[in-house]
């Protein structure tokens, strides 16, 4: 353990040029934050591939965490709302369960015990109030009301954490403009080939004859993944999502809120941003019976998203239906993760491994969340062979342990794979009627009338606060 030498001068292998390949939302979001944080010391070039133009359509939704990304860029959610690019979402509607999933845990902690144990106690006693009755955000979404989040922590309105539904075209343009203002050089061209030498990308050869070289390449080319593929990095399909196809439609209006509906063999997910509503059907098609509709999606993940001098982000790194959040959430999370330990030199082996380790933990939580939805569907459709078989076939012992533990006791298992807030899990499970079978002993030790009084008061408070919110049209 000898102290290592610090050098203040740039060594020959310092990272000074980054090439982002792909100019969709993924590419621009990446380039914008990299430039914001690293320019002018690092040059950022973005190559917009000509084919991807038409893929810009529709809506992407995200969790409240996007505000952290925006803050780093000097943006705010409310600026995007005022610019008619974004619509705040207080809760996601699951109509099959008649449930609204808010992004903040319902209820309040009482005597240091998580709230859902109290709701369970009343449920056990015959009370039928749905769990979202204890969430102001969910009640507001149910009644189509809105109020911005309050900065005053003692206000009920401080619980109004909103996700965003973004008009992809408007948002991409806004982020691209910002990226260009921060010094990103954009090149629009066609990719011809990728030169590889000793498992490193040497250059990206464009139709114009130009060769893009860089110290670090970001593969933002979506499912084509043409840069990371050149290094032959394995892609591992997720077995529980095999055979799903995707059909995306968008309409020039904006009426519906974010909702997730079950079908016989999948889901229909509708999101609605200013000026556009997008519907995505993720379903199993009977190919043998000649059904040719939809694009088959091979959902899964890249085993080492950072390999050599390439980092795959967005759908080049992993693809999986996220229900309450779309790919852009995972893009911002990847960029923030990269920037937290951005390598200033190419001897980055440990940093690379740590990035991949954390990405894998994130993937585990994404996989768990997807398979949780398979489980919820199996609860909703007890007579469906398709859903029952699908859940049976899910090979995820840790998820099954966590669900069994929750079902037994309401205890949430600790895990480092927590890329999605724990409150979403608890809320979704209770919202789908999965009430724990036993009561927390601390809650059992309290008099039932006291619990009833507390929870009734809470619901009244939320009811009154909801009525005070502005009705949206």
């Amino acid at each position: 353990m000898i102290e290592s030498d610090l050098t203040s001068t740039a060594s020959p292998n310092s990272v000074t040029r980054i090439a982002v390949i792909g100019g969709g939302l993924t590419g621009w979001m990446t380039a914008a934050l990299l430039a914001q944080r690293l320019s002018p010391k690092v040059n950022i070039t973005l190559v917009e591939l000509e084919k991807e133009r038409d893929s810009i359509a529709g809506v992407e939704c995200t969790l409240p965490a996007i505000s952290g990304y925006h803050a780093q860029l000097g943006l705010s959610d409310s600026m995007l709302v005022r610019a008619d690019i974004a619509r705040p979402t207080l809760a996601v509607h699951y109509p099959d369960a008649d449930y609204y999933l808010a992004f903040e845990a319902p209820g309040f902690t009482l005597d240091r015990v998580p709230f859902h144990h109290y709701a369970q106690r009343l449920y056990q006693n015959g009370e039928s109030t749905p769990f979202d009755a204890y969430s102001l955000a969910a009640q507001a979404a149910r009644q189509n009301r809105y109020h911005p989040k309050s900065d005053n922590p003692t206000s009920l309105f401080a619980t109004l954490n909103a996700g965003l539904q973004l008009n992809v075209e408007g948002y991409t343009n806004a982020i691209a403009n910002l990226a260009k203002n921060r010094g990103v050089q954009a090149i629009a061209n066609e990719l011809v080939s990728v030169s590889v030498h000793q498992n490193q990308i040497q250059g990206i050869n464009l139709a114009s004859g130009q060769v893009i070289s860089a110290d670090l390449f970001i593969d933002a080319t979506g499912t084509s993944a043409c840069v990371i593929d050149a290094l032959k990095v394995p892609y591992e399909p997720l077995q529980s999502a095999s055979g799903l196809t995707r059909v995306t439609e968008s309409a020039q209006n904006s009426t519906l809120n974010h909702r997730i509906e079950l079908t016989d063999t999948g889901w229909v997910i509708r999101r609605s941003a200013p000026g556009v509503t997008a519907t995505r059907r993720i379903e199993q098609r009977d190919r043998e019976a000649g059904d040719r509709t939809g694009t088959e999606m091979v959902m899964g993940r890249r085993l080492e998203p950072w390999t050599g001098n390439v980092i795959a982000v967005g759908e080049a790194a992993a693809m999986l239906e996220g229900f309450v959040t779309d790919p852009l959430h995972w893009v911002q999370s990847a960029i923030i993760r990269l920037l937290e330990a951005f390598p200033s030199a190419t001897d980055w082996e440990s940093t690379r491994k740590e990035y991949n380790r954390r990405t894998e933990l994130e993937w585990q939580s994404r996989q768990n969340f997807f398979e949780l939805h398979c489980y919820l569907a199996s609860l909703q459709k007890p007579d469906s062979h398709y859903w029952q078989n699908l859940w049976q076939s899910v090979d995820n012992p840790e998820l099954k342990r966590q669900l069994a533990l929750f079902k037994a006791s309401g205890v949430t298992a600790t895990s480092e794979a927590r890329a999605l807030p724990e409150c979403l899990w608890v809320s979704l499970l209770l919202g789908h009627g999965l009430w724990p079978e036993t009561c927390d002993p601390l809650v059992s030790a309290k008099p039932l009338p006291w619990i009833e009084e507390q929870l009734t008061r809470m619901r009244d408070l939320i009811g009154r606060a909801t009525m005070a919110m502005k009705k949206l049209q």
Binding site: K41, A341, T414
Partner: protein, 540 residues
């Protein structure tokens, strides 16, 4: 162990672990139907570990509704702002691992990177000069952290990018936390009184036999030396190193970590306090281990931890006596241990808490923390429902405790292996030690670019790792590029301003001695700040 009231808990052993468990159970499950019996014998001594604590203990006391000043009087406690490590990285070196954080982040990058860059520019100020808690400790001063100061200006939201705004001296008291040095035997006695007032029944006696159910293997009863047989539904093994239930009766396997942490003996001697008590623990490395010094109000705790391959008990005792500052107050107390943890601390219907569960040397004052973590996890995973439900809760509890022990273990090994000491066979061995992969990976990552491995479970997070890495001479090859754009002079000037302001702020705080008197005199009103399950405080 299918359990709902009436349910009878038997706590075996009444040291710190036993009475903390009894107190927590009696405070949290006040309802009729729960019975708690604690069996202890005055003939069996307690080890009395954990005189030095971590801030989490304040949370434990807060949950129990304990008056902090009353607690301090009862346990002769002093305040603790961190631990000073002396002679670890190299003989002659010292640093404080504070309960708190360092400096201000810059461009979303931790302060440590600004410090690294300043160091490369020739500024040799140690990192601790930027931790208000460490500076307060160095000045032998103490005040509550928090924002209670009436003249502190309110945070201005518009100053988001203006780091100087948050560097106002009024912000320094938000960046640290505190714990106590206390007399653990008195704490046990204090909690005994608390528990007995809440219907815990204490039984005097030595356990001579443990009965198990012939089919399930669960423990059904214990038999005392008086011949009395006490039946129970659930058992808590707080019998210390003896591990009467988890070791003797259930034979739960023990994972031996002594190849990583080879110290296996300790000798302890209390002494009179020579000067006014320091508001921090001291840990001196010596040729075959280390020595603690813990200042209480009425005495000083001293102990020498060593590896018996290199030092005899006589040598250790002599070495300890020579180092003691005041007059010895008791005969040397010799302890033997094997570092490690039981594979399952909850087995059948018996949960091992404290030394019966595992042993990690008290280098970072983790003994009481690990007791507390076990109690809190047990309360959350409290047995209920059918046997299959209990099995799930037990699995979760064991998984959580395993992770707690492993993460503390890695942090302790770091202290021994991040060293340039070469002056004795012990240190030569530690320098060449083959570390656990989980630690090897963390160190390699840090050396590359100053990144501390990201995790959320476990008690030692980024500031603690930085303290030890930097304090013991492990530095990264480079810093984060986000701190590069600031020009050299501006960077150096901003660091100088920051440490000067911290020093000036610290000098205005009361001395530790005065704080003990004055804060203690205000016991009519709960003025102490809220507690958190964090080493770094609720504010930072």
């Amino acid at each position: 162990m299918a359990s709902s009231p009436p349910f009878h808990w038997i706590i075996v052993g009444g040291g710190t672990a036993g009475w903390m468990t009894a107190a927590a159970f009696s405070a949290r499950f006040g309802a009729p139907g729960w019975r708690i019996t604690l069996i202890e014998s005055d003939a069996v001594g307690t080890v009395g570990v954990g005189e030095a604590t971590v801030p989490h203990l304040r949370y434990f006391n807060e949950v129990l509704g304990i008056d902090e000043q009353e607690f301090m009087r009862a346990t002769q406690a002093t305040y603790k702002l961190g631990i000073e490590f002396i002679d670890w990285g190299q003989q002659g070196e010292r640093y404080i691992h504070p309960f708190g954080v360092y400096g201000e982040p810059h461009q979303n990058v931790g302060f440590f990177h600004s410090w690294l860059r300043a160091r490369a520019l020739g500024d040799t100020t140690p990192l601790e000069a930027y931790a208000p808690g460490a500076v307060l400790a160095r000045h032998q001063r103490f005040h509550y952290p928090g924002s209670s100061s009436p003249d502190s200006p309110s945070e201005n939201p518009s100053s988001f990018n203006n780091s100087s705004a948050s560097n106002k001296p009024s912000a320094f008291n938000r960046k640290y936390s505190y714990a106590f040095h206390m007399d653990a035997s008195r704490y046990a006695a204090f909690l005994r009184e608390y528990s007995e007032a809440r219907a815990v029944v204490r039984r005097e006696g030595k356990i001579v036999q443990v009965e198990r159910h012939p089919d399930s293997g669960d423990i059904s009863a214990v038999v005392l030396d008086t011949g009395e047989r006490i039946e129970g539904d659930g058992f808590i093994d707080c019998s210390g190193f003896r591990a009467l239930l988890s070791g003797d009766a259930l034979a739960t396997p023990y994972t031996d970590w002594s190849h990583w942490l080879p110290c296996d003996r300790a000798v302890a001697i209390p002494s009179t306090t020579k000067d006014t008590p320091r508001p921090y623990t001291r840990a001196f490395a010596h040729s075959a281990g280390w020595r603690w010094q813990i200042p209480l109000q009425h005495r000083t705790g001293n102990g020498l931890v060593y590896c018996s391959d290199y030092l005899s008990a006589e040598q250790a005792t002599a070495q300890l006596l020579e180092s003691i500052e005041g007059e010895p107050l008791a005969e040397p107390n010799h302890l033997r241990f094997t570092t490690g943890v039981r594979t399952e601390t909850w087995s059948h219907n018996s949960i091992a808490i404290g030394l019966s569960a595992g042993f990690l040397e008290p280098l970072e004052s983790t003994s009481i923390y690990l007791i507390q973590a076990a109690i809190m996890n047990l309360i959350e995973c409290f047995p209920r429902g059918s046997s299959s439900e209990v099995a799930l809760l037990r699995g979760e509890f064991n998984q959580r405790m395993k992770l707690e022990y492993e993460r503390v273990r890695d942090f302790l090994i770091l202290h021994y292996t991040a060293t340039r000491r070469d002056d004795s066979p012990f240190w030569q061995r530690m320098r060449r030690l083959e570390k656990p992969d989980s630690l090897e990976r963390k160190i390699a990552l840090f050396r590359e670019q100053g990144q501390v491995e990201d995790y959320t479970l476990g008690m030692f997070l980024e500031p603690s790792w930085l303290a030890v890495y930097q304090g013991q001479g492990i530095l990264p090859r480079r810093w984060h590029p986000s701190v590069d754009p600031t020009n050299d002079r501006a960077l150096l000037a901003s660091l100088q301003t920051l440490r000067t302001e911290i020093k000036q702020w610290a000098e205005q705080q009361p001395s530790h001695q005065k704080a003990l008197l004055d804060l203690g005199a205000q016991s009519d009103k709960a003025l102490w700040p809220p507690a958190a399950m964090s080493l770094y405080g609720v504010f930072s």
